[in-house]
C-alpha cells in the first residue's frame, strides 16, 4: 500500500519530508511538493487506509501544511489520484484500474515519471478522453503506433508501477562527542580519547560503506573557547588509527590554548573507495599511509614545506606552486580508455609490454638529459666588476661559494614583468615579490662553476647603495 502527499504552493519541502518520515522510513521525493511513501504494515498501528490518510492530513495540518492525500495499492495510482482530487482519496488495492478509468487523459502528463511526455493531442485526435479509454486499447497496436513508451503510458493509465519505490536515504551525521569529567591537557591523554571516539565513527562509516573526506575536530576548552581544526583528506578513508594519527599530528602543529572540556569529532562522508590492484604495475602506497607521512612531515618542517611541485602560468623567474602529494594511479588511466579500436589496442599492448618489463621503460622513449639550474630561492648578493658593460670578475660573499675571474659570459638577456601590479615600484629581488626588471647573464668562472647572475635595473635606479647584482642559481 502506497500513499502520496501533494502540498499547496509555497510549502517548505523539508517540513513535508519530515511529516512523511513520521509515518514511513521509505519515502520518495517525486517533485517539488510531492512525496510518495510506502505505508505497508501501518494498518496494525493506525487502522485502515482511511484512518492513515486522516492521520497524515492531521499531522501535516499540525505543522501548518495543507496537503492532499491519496492511498492506493500502487504508487502510480496514488500519484494520479493526488494530482486529480483534493482532500483524501482512498482506493482499495486491486481496483486501481477501475477507479482511474474515469479520470481525464491529461493527468498522464502531470506526473513526470517517464522521459517523454505523452502525445495527449494525438490521443485526443483518436477520440480518447479518459484514462480508461486509453487503457482499453490493444497493447500491441499502441506499441506499433507510439513505440515502447506508449505501452508504458498505457500501464500508467491502468495504475501499474513501472519501477519500485526508490527510498530517499536521510542524511546521516557521522559525529561523535565526548564530555569529559575532568579537563585534559596535553596530547598524550587526548590520543586515548580520540581513539575512543574514532573507533565507533569508523565502524559507522564502514557500515554505510562511506569514507571520510574531511575530518573535523572541535575541542571545547575550559576557557569557553572552541578550538576547531578541519583536515581535508586526499582520499576517502575510515581506518580509526589513521584518522586518530592524522588528527593528533595536526593538533601537534596547532595545539589548543587551554585544557579540553568536550571533544567532538565529525566527518564529511563520501562514497567508499574501491581499489583495484594491478597485475602489471607496482602498487602505490595507500592514501592513508601517504596522508600520515604528509602530516608527520608537516609537523616536522611546518605547513607548506612538502607536496608536489606545480608549474604556474607566469614568466616570473622561479615561479612555482605546491599542491598536496596525491599520485594518481596508472590503472585509472587505463580504465578511462574511451574506445577500444585497433590503435588503442596497440597502445595498450605497448603499455603492457612496458609494464611486464622489470625495468621502468620511459613512456616516450629515452629522453636525453637536459641542463639543470640549481636555483637559490633567495638570490645571493654578489659584487661584480664590469668592463665594457660585461662582467669580468665576480665576488660572492657567502660561505661555500667561490667567486673569481669570468672566463666566459653570455648576456645580457633583459626581462621585466609585473611592473603593472600595485606596489611593484620597489622591486624586492631577495623575496621574489613585486615586479622585476633585470639583465640576466650566464657566467662561467675560472674555477669551472657556471652561475646565472642578474642585475636588478630598477634597484640600481632607486639607490646607489642597493645591491644590484645577484646570483640566481648555478648550472649543475
Amino acid at each position: 500500500m502506497f500513499g502520496a502527499l501533494y502540498a499547496a504552493e509555497g510549502t517548505d519541502q523539508t517540513v513535508l519530508e519530515s511529516v512523511a518520515r513520521e509515518f514511513s522510513p521509505r519515502i520518495e521525493v517525486c517533485g517539488p511538493r510531492e512525496i510518495t511513501l510506502d505505508l505497508s504494515g501501518l494498518a496494525r498501528l493506525f487502522g485502515d487506509a482511511r484512518t492513515i490518510a486522516h492521520e497524515l492530513r492531521r499531522t501535516a495540518a499540525d505543522r501548518g501544511l495543507r496537503v492532499r492525500v491519496a492511498i492506493a495499492g500502487t504508487r502510480t495510482a496514488a500519484r494520479l489520484f493526488v494530482q486529480h482530487r483534493a482532500g483524501i482519496t482512498v482506493v482499495e488495492p486491486g481496483t486501481e484500474a477501475d477507479a482511474l478509468s474515469a479520470l481525464p487523459l491529461s493527468l498522464l502528463s502531470q506526473p513526470p515519471t517517464t522521459n517523454h511526455q505523452p502525445p495527449t493531442t494525438t490521443l485526443r485526435q483518436w477520440g480518447l478522453r479518459t484514462l480508461g479509454e486509453f487503457a482499453a486499447l490493444p497493447a500491441d497496436e499502441v506499441a506499433a503506433r507510439l513505440g515502447p513508451a506508449g505501452v508504458e503510458w498505457q500501464r500508467m493509465a491502468r495504475g501499474e508501477d513501472g519501477r519500485p519505490l526508490v527510498a530517499a536515504v536521510p542524511e546521516e551525521r557521522f559525529e561523535q562527542t565526548l564530555e569529559l569529567e575532568w579537563p585534559i591537557d596535553g596530547l598524550e591523554p587526548l590520543s586515548f580519547v580520540l581513539g575512543r571516539l574514532m573507533e565507533p565513527l569508523s565502524a559507522h562509516l564502514e557500515r554505510r560503506d562511506r569514507g571520510a573526506a574531511v575530518l573535523h575536530v572541535r575541542l571545547h576548552l575550559v576557557t569557553r573557547a572552541v578550538h576547531e581544526r578541519s583536515l581535508e583528506l586526499p582520499a576517502p578513508m575510515r581506518d580509526a588509527r589513521t584518522l586518530r594519527t592524522l588528527a593528533l599530528l595536526d593538533l601537534e602543529s596547532h595545539p589548543p590554548d587551554a585544557a579540553i572540556d568536550r571533544i567532538t569529532v565529525a566527518v564529511d562522508p563520501t562514497p567508499g573507495r574501491v581499489v583495484q590492484f594491478s597485475l602489471l604495475t607496482r602498487p602505490l602506497p595507500p592514501p592513508e599511509q601517504l596522508s600520515t607521512l604528509a602530516a608527520r612531515l608537516a609537523a616536522l618542517l611546518g605547513e607548506g614545506r612538502c607536496g608536489s611541485p606545480e608549474l604556474v602560468d607566469s614568466w616570473r623567474p622561479g615561479a612555482f606552486a605546491m599542491k598536496p602529494f596525491a599520485p594518481r594511479d596508472s590503472n585509472a588511466l587505463h580504465a578511462s580508455t574511451p574506445r577500444r579500436h585497433e590503435d588503442t589496442e596497440r597502445k595498450n599492448l605497448d603499455s603492457l609490454r612496458a609494464s611486464v618489463s622489470p625495468w621502468p621503460i620511459p613512456v616516450n622513449g629515452a629522453a636525453s638529459p637536459t641542463v639543470v639550474l640549481r636555483r637559490f630561492r633567495i638570490p645571493i648578493p654578489a659584487r661584480v666588476r664590469e668592463e665594457d658593460g660585461r662582467p669580468v670578475r665576480v665576488w660572492i660573499d657567502r660561505r661555500g661559494f667561490s667567486g673569481g675571474r669570468v672566463a666566459t659570459a653570455a648576456g645580457p638577456w633583459r626581462t621585466s614583468g609585473a611592473w603593472w601590479e600595485e606596489g611593484a615600484v620597489a622591486p624586492k629581488p631577495r623575496s621574489g615579490e613585486g615586479g622585476w626588471d633585470r639583465d640576466e647573464w650566464d657566467v662561467s668562472l675560472a674555477g669551472g662553476a657556471t652561475y646565472r647572475l642578474f642585475r636588478e635595473r630598477r634597484a640600481e635606479a632607486h639607490s646607489a647603495k642597493a645591491d644590484t647584482w645577484f646570483v640566481e642559481g648555478v648550472v649543475d
Partner: protein, 250 residues
Amino acid sequence: MANNALARIESALRERKLDRTLTSALAPLDRSDAAAFIPFGVEAIDGVLRGGLPRGQVSEIAGSPSSGRTTLLLQLLSAATRGGEITALVDTCDRLDVASAAAAAIDLDRLLWIRGESFDSLHSLRAIKALTLVLQAGGFAVVAIDLADVHPRVLKSLPFTTWLRLQRIVEGSDTACLLVTPEPLARSAGGLTVMCTGRTTWSAAQTQSGATQQTRHTHRVTGLETEIRVVSPRRRVDGAVRFTAVANDY
C-alpha cells in the same frame, strides 16, 4: 590481440617478472635480477652502472658545482616517475628549480618534494629526519636527499651512524636511497658512489649590431658535459662514462 596480451602475461609469470607486483611480502632482491636496479634512462650511464642505481641500498652522487650532479639526480627521478613509480626529494637547501624538473620530464605528480629551509646544522638534522620518515613509510622507488650545498663542516659533524641507520632502513626494500653531496659521505659497500666532474659547453655566434655594424661574439650555454666515475670500493665498474646534457630553457 587479447590472446597475445594473455600470452605475454603468462610468459612474464613464467619468467617471474611479475613477482614484484603480486605480493607485498617481497623476497630480497638478487643482484642478478634486472628489477633490482633503477635505470637512469641513459644508455651510456646504465651500461657502466650495470643497470642503474641498486634498490635497497644507500648510494651517492658527489661532485662540485656545475659537475652535473643535479642533472643526474633529476634524470633518475624522471626515469623512475615515467616508469609509474613514485619518488621523493628532500631538498635540504630548497634548490630545486621546478621548471628544470619539468624540462627533465619528471612527472611532477609523482614527486614528493620536501623543502628544507637552510643548510645549518639544525635544519640539516631535520632534513635527515624527514628522509628517515619517508624511507620508513616505504613505497617510494627513489628517495633522494640533496646535501650538495650543505657546508662540509656541518656534514662532518653528523654522526657516521646516521648513514648506517639509513642503510638499515632501506635494506631489503624496493627503495633506492640517494645522497647528493659535495664529496662522498656514506661510502656504502652495497650502494654506488658516483663522482661527477663536468664543464659547460658554449657556442659563439657572430652578430652585427649598431649603426657601425660592429661584429660581436654572442655566447650561449649549449650543454653540460659530465663525466661520471664509480668510486665504490667493492663495485666492479666498466670505467668512466661521459654524457652531455643539452641546454634547454633551464
